[in-house]
């Protein structure tokens, strides 16, 4: 074997080792959480309210809170994000305004989550008098999720073959009719997949909900969208850092439930993507 081949073997082995160094911890982390948390997961844990200051009972209100926040986030970010993507792909001309919109999407995606928390606090909690509430939390998470939904929707719209639009226009349809009948229906798979992915991220976020919605010990479920609510990520944060003497299995179990929820949503997104790829019409 000549020198060059030897060097290649060494180099590729190093790269492989590096990859292993990264990939192994991922699996170990998951295993670690599962092993240590599975023990405390019981039906009661998942469906009962907390008791004795979190030392007993379950985390049901936190699960409900997270689910409500995800739904709220979707209600606000999905329509706005899809419409903005429709604007960018189907309506915008190649001018300064369009470039500014695209730049703004990039900027929004780069804003740190804690800054969104500050913004949400100032605008939704204080200025709009929504108080720390599900509504304020959802709106904050929605703005944060917007760039991801816009980008995913944009890709989905752009992947619809141009000929569909051409056919529609050549028969005399208006631009909106073309979008509505010949573009959007075929972009829905991509939009859906991107949305579920974005919502799975929102479910795991703590910083934006710190000041806008999260409460720690609320044994009863919320009555209205103006109520505070428990949420899984915030809950995990508090029991890890601020509440002493919580049995460690409960912390692991909470982490496991959160990770499980996020992974479940990711899995749904992946299944959707595979399902639609099979049914692809072009």
């Amino acid at each position: 074997m000549n020198r060059a081949k030897i060097r290649q073997h060494v180099a590729f082995s190093v790269l492989g080792a590096v990859t292993l160094l990264i990939v192994a911890p991922i699996l170990l982390v998951i295993l670690y959480i599962v092993i240590n948390g599975a023990g405390a997961i019981s039906w009661e844990f998942l469906t009962a309210a907390p008791r004795q200051g979190m030392k007993a009972g379950g985390i049901f209100p936190a699960i409900v809170g997270t689910v409500l926040l995800v739904i709220g986030t979707m209600l606000f970010s999905l329509p706005l994000g899809v419409l903005a993507a429709v604007y960018l792909v189907e309506y915008a001309s190649d001018d300064l305004l369009t470039r500014m919109v695209k730049l703004s999407v990039v900027n929004l995606s780069g804003i740190p989550s804690i800054v969104y928390g500050l913004f949400g606090f100032t605008v939704f909690v204080l200025l709009l008098h929504l108080g720390t509430s599900i509504l304020a939390g959802s709106l904050t998470l929605a703005i944060m999720s917007l760039p991801v939904i816009i980008t995913a929707s944009k890709e989905a719209l752009e992947s619809v073959p141009f000929t569909y639009r051409e056919i529609s226009f050549s028969l005399g349809a208006s631009r909106w009719q073309t979008v509505r009948y010949c573009v959007l229906p075929y972009a829905i798979p991509g939009i859906l997949t991107g949305t579920v992915l974005s919502l799975s991220r929102a479910a795991g976020e703590t910083a934006p909900i710190l000041f806008t919605v999260a409460a720690f010990y609320l044994p009863r479920l919320p009555h209205s969208v103006f109520d505070q609510v428990m949420a899984l990520p915030y809950h995990l944060y508090v029991i890890s850092t601020q509440v002493p003497n919580i049995p460690i299995e409960i912390s692991f179990a909470t982490a496991l439930v959160l990770v499980g929820l996020v992974f479940l949503m990711n899995l749904v997104s992946i299944i959707l993507r595979a399902h639609f790829r099979k049914k692809r019409l072009w």
Partner: protein, 251 residues
């Protein structure tokens, strides 16, 4: 009595960005004729067609100067929706929407506001009959259009264009992807349609042009070189360039 031409262009120039694709085009299309447009690639034939129904504007760099008149009316004054209802187009490769055969043909009437289900059904049936496709698909109207053969799909495209009741039909090399039998069926349909519609056929196939059209126009590099009755153009062209193209020296 000379009838008003269906289409008349006055000094039409078309540009994509800085590239000029059509130069000073002055042409008249007479009612109920089938006129062939022949010429080598990139001579502006497709651009001419798509200028008539303003489809060129789907490209963001397109500009044009000059006038196009439809029945004496400047088409820039007619809304795009109405213009494209009056002028239908059949593209080179059969392009169908991935929906049922029925829905493909019904799409045109639907977007133009036809809501009565019976009226839509009637339109679809008539259009499919005129396109010589009805017999082959009448029992499977709800099947997906992508399952049809190339030739059937192209006739479906003709049907969906007919369903909006145009007065002018444009064909952009419609048989380039079809086998000879399908081509013959399309050409037959065109002959039948002559009675009620004006048709412009862009084709790379000079024998097709001589079979189907009564008049022919020869385009070269964006210019209209010669136009006249098909027989004369093919047997006794006035311009040497026309002669060279027809005898196969280039293109």
């Amino acid at each position: 009595m000379v009838e008003e031409p269906v289409i008349k262009t006055v000094d039409l120039n078309c540009y994509f960005g800085s590239l000029q694709v059509l130069k000073n085009l002055n042409i008249e299309i007479q009612p109920n004729e089938i006129i062939g447009i022949i010429g080598p690639a990139n001579s502006g034939k497709t651009t001419f067609l798509r200028a008539l129904n303003r489809l060129n504007y789907l490209h963001r760099t397109y500009t044009q100067t000059g006038e196009i008149l439809l029945d004496g009316c400047d088409i820039s004054r007619i809304g795009d929706n109405l213009l494209r209802k009056k002028i239908g187009i059949i593209f080179a490769l059969p392009q169908v929407l991935p929906i049922s055969i029925f829905d493909n043909v019904a799409y045109g009437p639907k977007v133009h506001g036809m809501t009565d289900k019976k009226a839509v059904s009637r339109s679809v049936e008539e259009a499919l009959k005129k396109a010589y496709l009805w017999e082959e698909v009448k029992d499977r109207l709800r099947e997906s259009a992508v399952r049809l053969s190339g030739g059937q799909q192209q006739r479906l495209c003709i049907a969906r264009t007919l369903a909006v009741e145009p007065e002018l039909i444009l064909y952009d090399e419609p048989c380039s992807g079809l086998d000879p039998i399908s081509t013959a069926k399309v050409e037959d349909a065109m002959q039948e349609l002559k009675a009620s519609y004006t048709q412009i056929l862009v084709t790379n196939n000079t024998s097709q042009a001589s079979r189907v059209s009564e008049r022919c126009a020869f385009f070269l590099m964006g210019e209209l070189v010669e136009i006249g009755p098909t027989k004369t153009l093919f047997t006794n062209p006035k311009d040497k360039r026309t002669d060279d193209y027809i005898t196969g020296k280039f293109g």
